[in-house]
Amino acid sequence: MLEALEGSQAIARAVALCRPGVVAAYPITPQTHIVENLSKLVADGRLETELVSVESEFSAASVALGASAAGSRAYTASSSQGILLMAEVLFNISGMRLPVVLTCANRALGAPINIWNDHADSMAVRDCGWIQLHCANNQEAVDTSIQAFRIAEATELPVMVCVDGFVLTHTLETLEMPDQKLVDAYLPPFRFSRMLDPKHPLSLGTLVGPEYFAETRQAHHRALLDSVGAILEADRAWQAATGRSCGGLLTVEGPEDARIGVLAMGSLVSTFEEAMEVLPGRKKAKLIKLRAFRPFPDEALRHVCEGLTDLVVVDRAISTGFGGVLGGEVRSALLEMKKAPKVHNVALGLGGRDVPMEMWPRLLAVPKEVEGFRILDLDPAKLEPADL
């Protein structure tokens, strides 16, 4: 059914449709509306779940870990510092191969403290062994949230659904909410093979020494690589059920013969899509939407970059002292191509800076202007010359 919903509300409704057994809630801007909405659903009797209002994000993740290990579908959400406070647990959840789903309402990291959107938080935990999927709009946020449980439970890997804070979470827009019957058919009840159960008393979270640790990492790595299949399957099945796809691992738009590509993640893609269509005097370019950041779809990426001479990679975060994380990873992925496009890496929209549609033509000019990495929407007047 079509509805006009705020992103957070829509995500909460989507999560509720997945019938989570346990939801761990802790407030942080801009994620707060999600757990507020879930709390309201519980209060109104529209969601039957154990809602645990914890005392920190650290405990939120821990509660989700425990609940998942005990065999319940477990969900939590956070942002920014909250994700960092969870970091230790995030590694644990994935290392123990627990299918937790978490919404990351992406937000910058302090200091200086900043509550607005960028991708620094999920990037900071990119190595935590989770599947990370980015959403371009709230429809995708809804659909990906539901797909996330299916992917997580098929792979026994946790999934982080990344939605841009405020830009998506606080935007009311028209979207299609699936009904319960559809979701129930799509997402069977959770049965966890290693559930904590006195009848089959397993020990989870053991100590592994040097003689076996590399093997645990290989197994985990292999699982993440192989989760590509589950991600694609989940999206295809969703499309079959609803007619909507979120684009699997990545999507590409634009004319076949374009030689310039722009790659971005999250809500920026949405703005660029429109800019590509409506801005006068546009150049020929392809827009690549990267949905799966982990597993990193290097093969699919190389495929869509065939024929490009230049690729502009847009990061919404910065790895200080290096540049854009996404840029670096794309660059290394494309190295294996026979004729790889030249990669230009820019960062945009840090700490909630608005990225207007007019940024699109600037991006298309980047191949001529940027070697390596640059924050594209800097205002030089606001910096000491030495810091430029």
């Binding site: 290392g95 123990m96 191969r97 627990l98 026994e156 093979s193 290693r194 008393p201 397993l202 020990s203 989870l204 979270g205 053991t206 592994v208 076996y212 093997e215 645990t216 197994a219």
Partner: protein, 567 residues
């Protein structure tokens, strides 16, 4: 093949068993069943700890069965034994010793009351015949233990009834005659052929017996009073103690002087003193070279008397003069009018051997009109010449074997070890009879005689944290004014009291089955068995996992666990 990694590195339950932590061990715990001090001190060889354990389990019949495996007459010994077990009891260092004699007596009486059958050994019936001479405690014990082993036993005694000094020297106030009748009757009824009124040297000769029987045990006792004088002086009307006691017991006759001094420090002296005091003698003195129990007296120098008998004697007005001897008789003509006493003590000489030293200048005088020696008895040599060789007692080894006289054994008061605490008691005689039975069985079976000896447990090996102070049960004693010549003075405990008292036992040196080792092993390396393990405990060390920390040994209340170097 290496193990393959599980998803998320989960592990299956209890798989640590594959990791044998026993290899970490330097020392290992072992169960060491050491001798409890009561057992070590018991002349009869009883293991009081063991039968107290059965009582703790609430199984009095099994307790009695364990008891009579050593001593067939607990109703008797429970009354007359000076119970060195109680003096040795570790509980004495903690609060007060277990009232072992009271419990023993109760068990003996229970067995009589319920007519519990004496358990005989499950061995083939033997064809050999053994003669036992003397139906006192030693002879009865030998006969019983031989019968237990399924020998044919013929028991000879000069008297019309079995019992020996139980009937001739112990007042019924200490040992009621119906107890003797019943307990001894039950023993004889097991199948011992009893031939009363048959005196050695009169009705039958030793040679005759040795030719008719495969073995002969002499439990003839010491029926003849030891010669007594003071510097060669002897009163004209001298009565000796044992004879007086026997005469009183059998015909009821007793002289009643105004004041009497009895010289001696054994049960005969004390029993006689009490009988005379009750018969109305005003001043009854006991002069003894031994000391009274107390801190100043070495254990081997204490009056060889049941302690409670001593207390009762004092209560009844008998005056004791310890560490003294009679130095001189003060005579008027051939009649005694007093004695001069002097203090003495047993002291080590230059070679470390203890001998009596009297102290000049400590002489005192007692005015008495009678002096009675009760300094002990020797074997009546009639018919025994070939084994006494002119000595007072028969010389044997600890199994009663007589050097150079194969097949001939002796024990009880007749043998020459009357010194010290363990000899000269009913219990010692019972122990003699039992060991002789073992030696006879060994001889007739062509094997070595054995008497298992376990190392004693030290008090400091117990972990006292696990015991509670609990008072010893009080045993009833006939009030002074109600005491007479026939009624038993001391009473026994009730069944509930006996069981409660048994529960005070520390179980020194033996497993208490308290679960401490099982409970406190951090490594789950002590496993419990509801049946008995091979060592009789309920616990087995799993050396695959025991790391040798020693907690179990330290926390075993009973000292039953030793840590020994691991092989």
């Amino acid at each position: 093949m290496p193990v393959t990694m599980t998803r998320g590195a989960f592990a299956l339950p209890g798989t640590s068993l594959a990791f044998k932590t026993g290899t970490w061990r330097n020392t290992r715990p072992i169960h060491t069943h050491a001798a409890a001090p009561c057992h070590g001190a018991c002349p009869a060889g009883e293991d009081q700890q063991e039968w107290l354990a059965r009582l703790q389990e609430g199984r009095p019949r099994e307790a009695w069965e364990a008891l009579v495996a050593m001593n067939p007459m607990p109703a008797v010994t429970g009354r007359v034994c000076p119970h060195p077990c109680e003096s040795a009891c570790n509980r004495g260092q903690y609060d007060s010793p277990i009232a072992i004699h009271g419990i023993e007596r109760w068990l003996g009486d229970e067995a009589i009351r319920h007519n519990w059958a004496y358990p005989l050994l499950d061995v083939p019936v033997r064809s050999q015949r053994v003669a036992v001479v003397g139906a006192g405690p030693a002879g009865l014990s030998a006969a019983y233990h031989l019968l237990r082993r399924r020998y044919n036993v013929v028991l000879f005694d000069a008297m019309p009834e079995a019992g020996g000094l139980l009937r001739s020297a112990i007042p019924p106030t200490r040992l009621p005659r119906d107890v003797v009748d019943k307990e001894l009757g039950r023993i004889l009824a097991l199948g011992i052929e009893f031939r009363p009124r048959t005196a050695l040297g009169r009705d039958v000769s030793l040679d005759q017996l040795r030719s008719e029987f495969d073995a002969v045990f002499l439990g003839v006792g010491a029926g003849k009073s030891r010669h007594w004088d003071v510097d060669g002086a002897v009163p004209a009307d001298l009565h000796e103690g044992l004879g007086m006691l026997k005469e009183w017991l059998v015909v009821g006759a007793l002289p009643t002087p105004n004041a009497v001094v009895i010289h001696g420090g054994g049960n005969t002296a004390v029993d006689l003193a009490r009988v005379m005091r009750r018969a109305g003698v005003k001043d009854v003195h006991v002069v003894t070279a031994s000391g009274l129990p107390g801190p100043d007296t070495e254990p081997d120098d204490v009056l060889n008397v049941v302690p409670r008998e001593l207390e009762q004697a004092v209560e009844e007005g008998v005056v004791f003069h310890p560490h003294r001897t009679i130095n001189r008789l003060i005579m008027r003509g051939s009649k005694v009018v007093g004695v001069e006493m002097v203090r003495l003590k047993k002291l080590p000489d230059g070679r470390g051997r203890k001998s009596r030293v009297s102290f000049e200048g400590t002489e005192t005088v007692l005015h008495v009109d009678m002096v009675v020696p009760a300094i002990g008895e020797v074997v009546d040599p009639t018919g025994m010449e070939s084994v006494l060789h002119g000595k007072d007692y028969i010389k044997t080894d600890r199994f009663g074997r007589i050097d150079g006289q194969a097949g001939l054994f002796a024990g009880g008061d007749a043998r020459d070890w009357l010194k010290g605490l363990t000899g000269g008691t009913v219990s010692a005689a019972i122990g003699d009879g039992r060991r002789a039975a073992e030696a006879i069985d060994a001889l007739l079976s062509g094997r070595e005689a054995v008497e298992p000896v376990r190392p004693p447990i030290r008090y400091d090996r117990l972990n006292l944290a696990y015991y509670e102070n609990r008072p010893r049960i009080p045993l009833p004693t006939l009030e002074l004014e109600k005491r007479n010549d026939t009624d038993e003075i001391e009473g026994g405990p009730s069944g509930a009291q006996a069981l409660a008292e048994a529960n005070r036992c520390f179980s020194c040196g033996n497993c208490l089955a308290c679960d401490n080792c099982w409970t406190l092993c951090p490594d789950n390396a002590v496993v419990k068995t509801t049946e008995l393990a091979s060592d009789g405990s309920h616990y087995v060390f799993d050396y695959d996992y025991c790391k040798g920390c020693g907690l179990c040994a330290k926390e075993c209340p009973c000292g039953y666990i030793d840590m020994v170097p691991d092989e």
